[in-house]
Amino acid sequence: MNTDANRMNMMTAKELTRIILAKEEIFILDVRNENDYNDWKIEGESVEIINIPYFDLLDGVDEALDKLPDGKKLLVVCAKEGSSKFVAEQIVDAGRTDVHYLEGGMKAWSEYLEPVKIGDLKDGGSLYQFVRIGKGCLSYMVLSKGEAAVIDTLRMTDVFEQFAKEQGVQIKHTLDTHLHADHISGGRKLAEQSGATYWLPPKDATEVTFDYEKLEEGQGITIGSTTLRIQPIYSPGHTIGSTSFIIDDQYLLTGDILFIESIGRPDLAGKAEDWVGDLRNTLYNRYKELSQDLIVLPAHFGKVTELGEGGRVMAKLSDLFLHNPGLNIQQEKDFRSAVTENLPPQPNAYQEIRQTNMGKITPSEEEQREMEIGPNRCAVHDK
C-alpha cells in the first residue's frame, strides 16, 4: 500500500483481506444505504464498522467526523467505489490522515478470493483453499503432477486459471459437490475454458441443460497419473444429490452439508421436510462411519470466527462431533425443528441462481453479480 498520510489512498480487496487476516485494527465507514448495510457488510475480529449513508453527507462530513476515531486506519466503503471516494476526499480535506477507500467497493469485496494452502498430499501434490472472504464461499484446488481439479468453483474463473498457470498445472476436472443455490458455479465455465471435465451429482442434475459427467460413489477421479484419487461419498440432505469427497485419505470436503460451526439447511430447493431425514442420516451415520481423523473442508463459512490461521477454514471431524451444535442434537424431532424452523432468510435470488446453475437461464455478467450480492446463508445458524 503506497500510503500518503495527507491524501486519500486506495485500498484493494486483497490488502483489506490481509489486514483482516492479520487482525490489524481498521475502522470502516460504510456509506451505502441502511438496508444494504444491514443485509451484508465487511466483518472481521479487528474491524470496527459504522454506517452513515453517503446521501446524508452531501452537505459535509461533520456528522461523520465526530464518530471517526482519530489516529486509526480509516477505510470508506460503498457499493462500487464512487461514493466512498466522494466521502473519503472530504474527510481528508477536513484534516484527517490515514484515510482510504476500497477499490471497486463491495462488488470487488464480494468477488475477491484469497488462496491459502491447506497442506501437502502424501505422494506429492498439494491442496489449496480459496477463501471468498466477502461472501463466505470456499473453493478448492487439488494439484498433483502437473494436473489439477477444482472443487466448487466460484464464478470468478480467471482466478483459478491464473493460479493454475502460476503453479504450472493443467486443470483437468471441475467438480461441484451439489447444485449451488447461493452462488453461481464457475465449474462449467472453467471446464469449457480449460478443456476439463465437469462433474455433478446426477440427482442434482436432473434438470440441467448441458452435458456433464456423473459423480457417483465408488467411482474415483484420478489426478496426475494415478497419484491422487478423489472419492465421492453420497451425502444427501442440503440437496438430494449432495456429495462429499475424500481426498488423499486425509481430507473430507463436505460441500454444504457440514460446516465448522453449523450444518447445511435442507430447504433451498423447497424440500426441507423431505430431506431432513437424509441430512440427519448423512451427518449422524454416514460421517460417523468415516475416519474421525479426516480434516473437514466445507464449501462455506458463516462467521469470521470460523477463519483459522491465515484464513484457513478447516477442522478435524472428531472435533466437530464434539463442538459443532448441529452434530449434537440427540433427538430426531429436535433436529427436525432445528433445521426446518426459524431458518435464516434465504440467500438473495437463490431461485434464479439455481436456474443459472442448471443452465436454464444465462444472465449477463452484471446480472450474475447482482444475483450474488449479500451473504451466503447456506447454514442453519447463519442469522
Binding site: N33, F55, D56, G82
Partner: protein
C-alpha cells in the same frame, strides 16, 4: 397508465453513485415545496439510494418507472415547515365511510387533487386525477350537483380544493380525512395495472 408530468426533469443517465443523488439534491433546492422532479438514471443502485435519501430528508419518494433501461424516479419536494394546516372546510368524510359508499356502488365522484406522479403510483380505484393547480380551469367538466369526495396526500390540498368547489356552487363536496395517508382501503399502484 395515467400520464405523469413533472415540474422538472433531471438527466442522470450514465452517472454512477454518488452523482445521481448529488445532482438530485441540487436540483430539488430549486423547486418549490410540493413540486415534483423526475430523475432519469441508469444506475440500478439509484433506486435504493434515492429512497433512502428521500426518507432521511423528508421528501416524498413517489415511485420509479423503468423504461428502456432508464429508471425514472419521481420525488415530490417536501415543505420543510410542514405543519398540519388548519382545515377550513367543514365537511369531511372518513376512510371507512368512503369505503362503504364505494363498496355499495353509491354514485360518488372521487377527485384526487395530488400531482399526476403521486396519483400514478398509488390511488383509489375509480378516482379522477385533477391536480389542484388545474382544478379551476377544469371545473366546467364537473357537475355541481354530483356527490364529490376530494382526496390528496394528507387532507390539506383537498381542503383548499373543497373550498374552491364550494365557492363555485358545488353542493355535495366532502374532504377525505387524512387523505391517502389515512386511507386503509384498496389502492391501485403502478405495478398492478401493468
Amino acid at each position: 397508465m395515467p400520464e405523469i408530468t413533472a415540474d422538472m426533469t433531471l438527466d442522470c443517465k450514465g452517472l454512477a453513485c454518488p452523482m445521481p443523488i448529488v445532482k438530485t439534491k441540487k436540483a430539488i433546492d430549486q423547486l418549490d415545496a410540493g413540486q415534483v422532479i423526475e430523475v432519469q438514471a441508469t444506475d440500478q443502485g439509484s433506486i435504493a439510494d434515492i429512497q433512502g435519501w428521500a426518507k432521511n430528508t423528508g421528501h416524498h419518494y413517489l415511485g420509479t418507472v423503468e423504461e428502456c433501461e432508464v429508471l425514472k424516479h419521481y420525488i415530490r419536494k417536501a415543505n420543510p415547515n410542514e405543519v398540519n394546516e388548519e382545515k377550513k372546510y367543514p365537511l369531511i368524510i372518513s376512510s371507512d365511510e368512503l369505503q362503504k359508499k364505494l363498496s355499495e356502488n353509491e354514485k360518488v365522484t372521487v377527485i384526487d387533487v395530488r400531482e399526476t406522479a403521486e396519483f400514478a403510483f398509488n390511488r383509489i380505484a375509480g378516482a379522477v386525477s385533477i391536480p389542484l393547480g388545474e382544478l379551476e380551469h377544469r371545473i366546467s367538466k364537473l357537475n355541481p350537483d354530483d356527490e364529490i369526495v376530494v382526496v390528496c396526500r394528507t387532507g390539506n390540498r383537498s381542503d383548499m380544493a373543497c373550498q374552491l368547489l364550494a365557492g363555485k356552487g358545488f353542493k355535495h363536496v366532502k374532504n377525505l380525512e387524512s387523505g391517502m395517508s389515512g386511507w386503509n382501503g384498496s389502492t391501485i399502484n403502478y405495478d398492478s395495472q401493468n
